[in-house]
Symmetry: C2
Subunit: 300 residues, 2 copies
DNA sequence: TTAATATGATAGTTATTATCTATTAGTTGT
DNA sequence: ACAACTAATAGATAATAACTATCATATTAA
């Protein structure tokens, strides 16, 4: 059975005239006749009485027409449902976000983001990179916001922003008067690091190693905030991504040279159904004024 | 959009597996993939998330699946309606029947006829032939039971039975002792006839004319019963179809020679939708025992 | 009645599209 | 790394919906 054929029947019943119905359905009259005949054979019921002057429905035809109309109405509803739900990222969207981004990105963006994507119900979960990736695989997460790592080759990613790393040190530190600092100048200071699993730690450790700078592992903080508290007490220095560099009493942020950066991306499964929505969201994020402002602000 | 495609979607949602769904739908997996993809494009909605280990419905897919199931259910109902209403002569059937048949055929058959065609609601209307034919044209009647006449060439007809004409006369009539009578022997009697419009009158008049017998038109009865009442009072003789020859006080029925007959047929429009039902009904009628018995009973 | 008009059915052909088989790309599990 | 599995793709074929042209029949008008 075919929905088109049901439309034909409805049209003939309405016009009581094959040619007029055919015109209304944008097909030729023989097509209409043929298809209706086929449907009648399939149903085993003669729907129309073509023998009287006017084409009329048979008794059975009348009964079946009611049901045919029901089907066509429900089909129309399906189409309308589809049309209204075709907005990108419709419905619940679970987003994983790493701990070195979440607290600095979300507060400023969350409200306007909810407004901009009103059809979506975002749920954010703070997780470390490795967990995020398996959660993406399982479908527990739809999207992730995290720093670019080689593993992301297996996923679909869109850039959101690049951010510099700075060194955070106490005002008392003898480097604090400088306006920038070279990596190897940090050799003398004790470098505070995040605990294992934070991709930020891996990356910092990596470029320290490349610059031949030793890293003391005597203390590993669970969050940047903890580390910064230690830094404020002049217990060491640490690296901080630019977004996290809000004014803090007793702390000075210095640019590093050569510049160290990380790329923050939006990631999802390679064949995530709503890639278009992902692009849209990433674009919206990357162009958000308050984000741009935070990334470019001059630190005193 | 296509109902088959909706079936495919339902199957995939059920099995969460394209190949299994394809098997269940008796098509190949590529066919399934292709058709679902086409449907997704048509609706502008991605129904399935094929990127996770298990195929799952997207949020929109879940919403639409509910509606898809509604459509398929309603389609099933349509099929069932068609199947149950495919019995021949389903519903109201209006039957026209001529006055020289109705009172003799219906009483014996009506009850068992209703039983045999339980799905039909028969409505009988007693009409003369000419009116019956126009009523068939207008769709006011579906079927007619009447004596065969040339005009029926334009209609679809099926034989029900042939019946002899007999002469009804008073016991007092001087021909009443005979066991049969020749047409021209009636010349002496006054021949009572039905009024104009009765095909039975036309036919009787016709074969009287052919036999060179004069017909007095001094009295035209409106029904056979009236004529027979006159006959009983020996006011004349009349022709009676065999079926009407029930035992009546003071009346004797005699066969005519050469035998005169009429053919009683079931008629409908040439393209009446339920010709199969017509055949069935005609067949049932012609084989009905009490009809056969009435047609062959020996009159004393 | 004959001619003109209208209507749905039929025949034959073409275009469309649903389906198939074979293969590929990408995953998963051993 | 390799075998097994799954969905997507490519290309060919079969099914069928569609068209044009024509017919049969019925209705209307001259």
């Amino acid at each position: 059975m075919n929905l088109k054929d049901l439309e034909y029947v409805k049209a003939i019943a309405h016009f009581k005239h094959f040619r007029k119905a055919a015109d209304a359905c944008y097909v030729s009259q023989p097509t209409l006749s043929g298809q209706v005949k086929k449907l009648e054979q399939e149903l085993g019921v003669t729907l129309f009485d073509r023998s009287t002057k006017q084409v009329t429905l048979t008794v059975q035809g009348e009964r079946l027409l009611t049901q045919i109309k029901v089907i066509l109405e429900q089909t129309q509803i399906l189409k309308e449902l589809a049309a209204t739900s075709s907005a990108p990222l419709q419905g619940r969207v679970k987003i994983g976000i790493i701990p070195t981004i979440a607290p600095y990105l979300l507060p400023t963006l969350l409200t306007s983001m909810k407004e901009a994507f009103a059809e979506s119900q975002f749920a954010f979960v703070e997780m470390q990179t490795a967990n995020i990736l398996t959660a993406l695989d399982n479908g527990e997460l739809d999207i992730a916001i995290l720093a670019d790592v080689p593993e992301l080759k297996l996923y679909h990613t869109v850039n959101i922003y690049k951010e510099d790393f700075l060194v955070a040190m106490s005002n008392q530190n003898n480097l604090a008067k400088r306006d920038k600092v070279a990596l190897d100048e940090l050799q003398s200071c004790s470098l505070l690091m995040l605990s294992d699993g934070h991709c930020f730690k891996d990356q910092a450790q990596q470029f320290c190693f490349a610059a031949g700078v030793d890293v003391s592992n005597e203390y590993q903080g669970n969050s940047l905030e903890t580390l910064l508290a230690l830094v404020a007490m002049d217990d060491g220095v640490t690296f901080v991504p630019k977004l996290a560099c809000s004014e803090r009493i007793g702390i000075r942020y210095l640019p590093i040279f050569p510049t160290q950066q990380r790329r923050v991306v939006l990631a999802c499964r390679k064949h995530y159904p709503h890639l278009a929505g992902i692009e849209l969201l990433a674009n919206w994020l990357s162009e958000h004024p308050s984000l741009r402002q935070q990334l470019t602000k001059v630190l005193n």
